[in-house]
Every structure is written in structure tokens, then in C-alpha cells.
Assembly symmetry: C2
Homo-oligomer: 358 residues x 2
Amino acid sequence: MANYAYKSLFNFSKSVFLAMGCPEVEADQATKTLLSADLRGIDSHGVARLKGYVRLWEKGRINATPNIKVVHETPSTAVVDGDAGLGLVVAPFAMKIAMEKAEKVGTGWVAVRNSNHYGIAGYHSLMAVEKDMIGISMTNASPLVSPTFSKERMLGTNPIAVAIPAGTEPHFVGDFATTTAANGKLEILQRKGDPAPQGWLQDKEGLETTNSFGVNEGGALRPLGGSRLHGSHKGYILGSIVDIFSAVLSGANYGPWAPPFVSFIDPVSDPVGEGLGHFFGAMRVDAFRPAEDFKSHMDNWIQRFRNSTPIDPSQPVVIPGDPERKMEAIRMAEGIPLLQPVVDDLKAVGEKFGVEFK
Amino acid sequence: MANYAYKSLFNFSKSVFLAMGCPEVEADQATKTLLSADLRGIDSHGVARLKGYVRLWEKGRINATPNIKVVHETPSTAVVDGDAGLGLVVAPFAMKIAMEKAEKVGTGWVAVRNSNHYGIAGYHSLMAVEKDMIGISMTNASPLVSPTFSKERMLGTNPIAVAIPAGTEPHFVGDFATTTAANGKLEILQRKGDPAPQGWLQDKEGLETTNSFGVNEGGALRPLGGSRLHGSHKGYILGSIVDIFSAVLSGANYGPWAPPFVSFIDPVSDPVGEGLGHFFGAMRVDAFRPAEDFKSHMDNWIQRFRNSTPIDPSQPVVIPGDPERKMEAIRMAEGIPLLQPVVDDLKAVGEKFGVEFK
């Protein structure tokens, strides 16, 4: 495992997007979105996925020069057609529209169709907080999750992110998959050859399994809760809401029709919409109360929760967003660690486009 | 356990609200909201709580003749001050404003302060679907839940409801506490003397316990997920978002400051806002795509999920809202079963106001 400077990963990734044919501004945005995952410690969604985007582009499933546009709108809503562009670019475009609408009428809500994977949910929600807005971001994804009582893969890990501005305290940023555990966590166990905790996944018969390769062998991830007794129907509801807001409202593919991220599995032959879907929201806090009041109460909220009595004094209560913010500071200073297989992949991508990875 | 006709429970409850001094229209609304819980099978939130509302009124903590009003607004948002009125009445008032705003600008979002417990979250979200809108409802509540890593009670069971209209299929209605299990489920175990499943609650030291009286003995409910390994930080994030949207946006009491529902515990002496808070949203589906398109795709979504391959063919996949809808049909026809202690309480309430319970 070697560390790579953010700046050099940025230059490399941007060069690759440029070589794919992305316009300058979009290559820049795609790189910023992608690498925000590495900076925040969500390694599964960062530069390790660059190869995946390239392969989808090679298959003609990603359009490097999309005509991203608003196809329907009201004062507080819009639907964006991503024209099969990179989700990494389509999503910030849509979030900006949500924020412009919030500027005018208090809140803005944008559903997106015909997009692809958009990186980490949190990045887009964070765009809003700098403008004293609450940012909301969600997306559907390749089906890997079974509803409670089912053994069929029907939903993606369908993440939700909510970023809330504070005053002197750092922002509150909740960003989570609606499954018991994200797929990235399973990959870590697989690399180590470790079993998975109960409640994370089920085998192809739908029975709980601790085999960390269970999903690869025809099983599925379980919704947050893990079992009916522990509330997995609530995780299933959450994943469903994300699917419906992202894809049924927008006209994208929902549920088991959602296109797979991996290029070696073709999309379904009977699509119910276009591409993948996202959903974004922006709410001006001063559409509810003066921004200074809101932010000083958020500071109070954060301080009170951070100081709530811990079970173990050596493990204080965590404010959502704190671990990722700390990770970002470390990785900006010390670089981003990449596993050897990721480095090998990036070198191969670089060779394809005549861009040196170093 | 005897069954009581909806009509007679309605007349009784309405007479009690009238005797408390509620105006006719508000007594009617309060009863409708309250009994929707009994009809939908959420017995903990229905007529069994009538005594609780009466006691809060006796303590001067519920105002029977509130001046409920909008104190701030933009085209898509409003803040409502409930003037310490019954949440059962304040909440539908606020939801109507959200729907009026959605009618005009596509969506409407209303934060409420200075309210009380509002019955079941689902009732309010369902108001929207009749108008081809998605309805969203959430509320904070008396602190009974510890954040991950904490042994202090900081959050309520903070429910979220989302109701989504369909075409020929019944609506999708997700309505769930952001804890592993709702308090009402614990009460059932307590009555039977049964232990609680692991992950539902912790003792006063913060350790997992199966003692179903754990909360009464100084412990706490755990957020959805049940433990850090099973994603309880996600349930904690969800409960926090509900708390912040309901109370920090509106100017109500948040976190451990939220006023208790039980009349024998006084509210904190250092409030950070006014009363309890709620948050409502309404989104016109045709603010995104033609309503007929949306509803026919929702029908397809619902049918596909209902028919997804079950693990056990005798237990098909459940569409959120189906169980409560079936229960409502049964209870409308056969009456609502009440436990003897609830009947005794209602008789005592009736005697207090000179209203016969029969």
C-alpha cells in the first residue's frame, strides 16, 4: 500500500476523463466528485472505480459529451435528463438547480433520469451547506439487496445523504447506505478472508449467512435492520423510498431494472425508464427561521450530542460527518493510500489513454 | 378483550375533547387523527392514549383553544406555531399548508413548533395522496433512545412516514420509528413477561439487554440497526435528522430537551425552544412527470415487488402500507379490540367529564 498525493491523483484522473472526450469543465467536476470519496475515506467509491467508468464508456453506456438538460419544472421542482452522462457530472448539475430554486422559493427538489453512478451521496449534499442550505442527496443503484422475506435482488444499496449547516461547529453530514453494511465493507472482509457478521447478507436461498462471498454466490445484501425481528422492513422501506424518489419520479429504471455498474453485465432488455436515477433537495434554512438562530441552535445540538454520556469514556459519541472530515484533513496532508491492485488498474487505464500514472 | 365499534369510540372520544373545551371542528379532527391509529392496528398510539392527552391538559400543558398560526413563510415553506394545542389538530393544520404550497409551487414544507404528540405519523402523510401528492411526516418525541456509543437518552423514537400515490394499486405507505423496535412492541412483551430480542434495548450502563423492562429501569431503546456492527449509527443519523428537521428548523425543543408525553414528568426547566416539533412535506407528483405516468409506474413497482421471489412461499413480500390497510378494513367491520386496562381508563376519563363509555 503506497500513498499518492491528492494533486497527482487529481491530474491523472482528469487527464483520463479528458482523454475519454469530456469537456474541460466536466472532466474537472468528474474528478472532484470522484476523489471526494478517497479524501473522505470511502475508498470503494473513489479512484478505484475509475476503471469501471472507463469500461462503461467503452461499452457506449456512458456519454462523455452529454447534453444534460431540464425537461420539466415548476418553481420548486425540476426533472433533469442526464443524457447518459457521467453521474459524477450530472449530479452536481442537478444539485445546482435545486439550490437555484431554493434561492428563489425557499426549497428546490430535482429528480434525475438517464444518469450513471454518481460517486458518494455526501459530496452532492455538501454543496448546499456553504449557502446556508440543508442538502439532500440520494440515488438508486444496481440491484444487490433483497426486500424482507424475499430471496430476489430488487434494490440497490440506495444511499441517503443529508448535510446540515452549523455555525462554529462543523456541518452535520449523514451519508449512509440503506443496507446493514455497505458493499465496500464486505470487500474488506473478502480480502482478509474473514466471515461477515450475522444480518449483513443472505445466501441464494434467502438464509442468513456469514460467508462474506455470499452475494457473489447468488445471495443478497440485507436491508438495514438485518432481519424482520430487528427491523429490516424499515431498511427495505428506506431503500424503496430512495428508489421511488430517484427513479419513478424522474422516469429512470427502478428496482430490479436499474442498470448494473459493472460493464460485463448488460442492462436489462426491457427497461422501464432511462438509465439510473437520483434525487436532490436543497432547503434554505432561513426559509424557516433566521440563519443565525438556526446555526447557533445547531451548534448547541452538536455540542450536546458530542458530550452525551458515553458507555466507554474512550469512545465518545460521534457527530455524523466528523470521521470523514478528519480523514479528509489527514489524506490532504499525507496522501491517499491505494492498494496494489488499484494501482495496477490505474496504470493499465493510463496506458490505454497514453497518460502516465505515477 | 372486547371489541368496540369505531363509531362508538369516535363519539366517546369526540365528547371528551369537546368537554376539554376543544371547538367542534377541532374535537372532530383530534378524534379522527387519534383513532386512525386504532384502525390501522397501532394500538399504542390510539384511544389508549386519550387519558394521556387529558392529563397533559389538566396540567396546563395542552391548550384546548389554541391560536394555531403561520409565523414565517416563503412560497414553498412555512413555520407553524401550534400554541401548545393538541398535536392531533396542529399537525393536520400544518400538513394542509404544505399541500396548499405544493398546489402553487410544486412542493410545500412545513416545520412546526410548540406542539404536542401528533398520533401516528402515517395519518398526516396520507392526507397528501388523495391529491396525487407524496406526503411526508415526521416528529420528534420524548427522549428514550441513546445514540450509538452513548448511555444517555437523547432522542425520541422519532418516526418517519412517507405516503406515495399509486393508480389501481393501493398507496405505498411507509411509517416507522427510527429505532430497532417501537415502544409499543416492548409493551406487548412486558405484558406477556417475555424477554426482548437482542439489539432492541440497552441497560442503564449501555450494555445490550434482553430485559424487556430495561428502559423503565434506566436503560434506553437502541437506534435502528441495534449495534454499531449492524448499522445503529444509521438509525442514530435518521433519528437525528428527524429531530433537527422537526425542532431545530422550527424552534421547538430538540434532543434531550423534548418535553415528555407523560404528565408526571415535568418538562425541563431550561427549554431550548417551544413544545414538541414536527416536519411535513407535500410534493405534487405532476411537478415531476404527468400524474398518470407516475401512477402507472408505481403500479408496476408495487406489482413487481409484491411478486418478488419469496424465501418461504407462505410469506410473500409485503408492500409498505398493506398490513395497516387490511387491518383497517377488518376493524371497521368487526370493531376495535381494547384491553381491559384501557377500557377501565376510558371509563374513568368518561366519569371525569360526565360522558358515558359504553
